[in-house]
């Protein structure tokens, strides 16, 4: 138990931060474990476990707030999971360093775009009532409860967004991270989805991406059950806390926190590659 405690605490802390920004905790946990001396091959499945557990724990809070767009999530996820399965199958063949540098540049770029944006992109419409909150049947659009009332949104640039989701999935399968640090800024800044909806929807989808890759890791016998138990327990606690905070914070605060986190991710990626 004493040996598992640092792992449990690390998973809890990274999961709170990861769920809050819709990034998943693995992008912080995996580099931390590698820096502590754990081989990447062992850290990757633990990273995916923290993402899956954080996603499960954060789900009830996001569902109660009605800020998950499931149709958008499943549509983007079909591409991301294909990338994750491909990445997990060929993870030992791909060169890691160029991929990591591209990802670091992407994370820094997303931090810049999200951080400099001001104002409300999807304004609330007073004529809309609470019954309009949710997804529209047959489309990717919907409405969400903003601080100023019910705000409708319409998803844009779907093909380009899907291309980035495929890249995020490939990264998940190869590097053992959830890909949320690509998915959330792409969903928010490129596809015009409100930040809270983007973060909650990504938290839902990275759970699926992680499950897809974890099945392969489990079948390959790459799962340490004792370490995995510590990571799961820590991530469930952290995910629950992060999901609760995310539903209460204003979008501007989440967006700024997300920008800071993305810059941190870029630094971590560059320094550990």
């Amino acid at each position: 138990m004493a040996a598992d405690l640092p792992l449990l605490l690390a998973a809890a802390i990274t999961s709170v931060i990861g769920v809050l920004g819709g990034l998943g905790g693995a992008v912080l946990l995996v580099p931390a474990l590698v820096l502590l001396g754990m081989p990447v091959a062992d850290a990757a499945p633990l990273g995916l476990l923290t993402v899956a557990a954080g996603s499960v724990a954060a789900g009830p809070g996001h569902l109660a707030a009605r800020i998950v767009n499931h149709r958008l999530g499943v549509s983007t996820e079909i591409v991301a999971s294909s990338g994750a399965v491909l990445g997990a199958l060929v993870s030992k063949l791909l060169p890691q360093r160029p991929l990591v540098w591209i990802l670091a540049a992407g994370a820094a770029g997303a931090a810049f775009v999200g951080g400099r944006r001001t104002g409300v992109r999807n304004p609330a419409q007073p004529e809309l009532g609470p019954e309009q909150i949710g997804e529209q049947i047959g489309t990717l659009s919907g409405a969400y409860p903003s601080s100023y009332g019910v705000a409708p949104y319409r998803v844009r640039r779907v093909p380009l967004g899907l291309a980035f989701m495929g890249l995020a999935g490939l990264v998940s399968g190869t590097a053992g991270v959830g890909g949320g640090f690509i998915k959330t800024p792409v969903t928010s800044e490129l596809m015009n989805v409100p930040t809270r909806v983007a973060a909650a929807t990504t938290t839902f989808t990275i759970g699926i991406t992680s499950s897809a890759a974890l099945i392969i890791f489990a079948l390959q016998g790459r799962m340490d059950l004792r370490s995995g138990s510590a990571v799961i327990l820590g991530s469930l606690i952290g995910g629950r806390l992060g999901g609760g905070f995310q539903s209460r914070l204003p979008p501007t605060t989440i967006r700024r926190a997300l920008s800071v986190l993305l810059l941190l991710v870029a630094v971590i990626l560059v320094t550990t590659s």
């Binding site: 138990m1 598992d4 449990l8 899956a52 557990a53 499960v56 724990a57 789900g59 009830p60 569902l63 109660a64 009605r66 998950v68 499931h70 149709r71 499943v74 549509s75 996820e77 079909i78 999971s81 399965v85 997990a88 199958l89 419409q125 004529e127 809309l128 009532g129 309009q132 949710g134 997804e135 529209q136 049947i137 047959g138 489309t139 659009s141 409405a143 409708p152 839902f204 759970g207 699926i208 992680s210 499950s211 897809a212 974890l214 099945i215 392969i216 489990a218 079948l219 390959q220 799962m223 059950l225 004792r226 995995g228 138990s229 510590a230 799961i232 327990l233 469930l236 606690i237 629950r240």
Partner: protein, 99 residues
């Protein structure tokens, strides 16, 4: 959005989904705690249950959404959901085949 020109808003509230996720969280947390504290083989079995629960929960969530979308008559997204589950099943099948 409210004037009838846009498609209707889905009536899925997510209450049952949330209840299922709370149950999965409780089962996984309990099993993970036993997995840390108990010696093998009990610890290993409990750890396996914790891992299986967090892997299965997101996939069962998608399966549940497919059922609810079919009840709403939204067959485009039923097909997309089934496609997603098929991709994941194919990945598992490829792994088993390549062992």
């Amino acid at each position: 959005m409210s004037g009838g020109q846009n498609p209707p808003t889905s009536r899925i509230t997510g209450r049952r989904q949330a209840a299922g996720l709370r149950l999965a969280t409780a089962v996984a947390a309990f099993a993970a705690a036993i997995g840390i504290l108990a010696p093998d083989p009990i610890g290993a079995i409990a750890g396996s249950i914790a891992v299986a629960t967090v892997i299965a929960a997101p996939l069962l969530r998608v399966a549940w959404l497919v059922v609810r979308w079919s009840q709403e008559g939204d067959y485009r997204y039923v097909a997309i959901g089934l496609g997603l589950l098929s991709v994941i099943a194919a990945g598992a099948g490829l792994t088993v085949a390549s062992r």
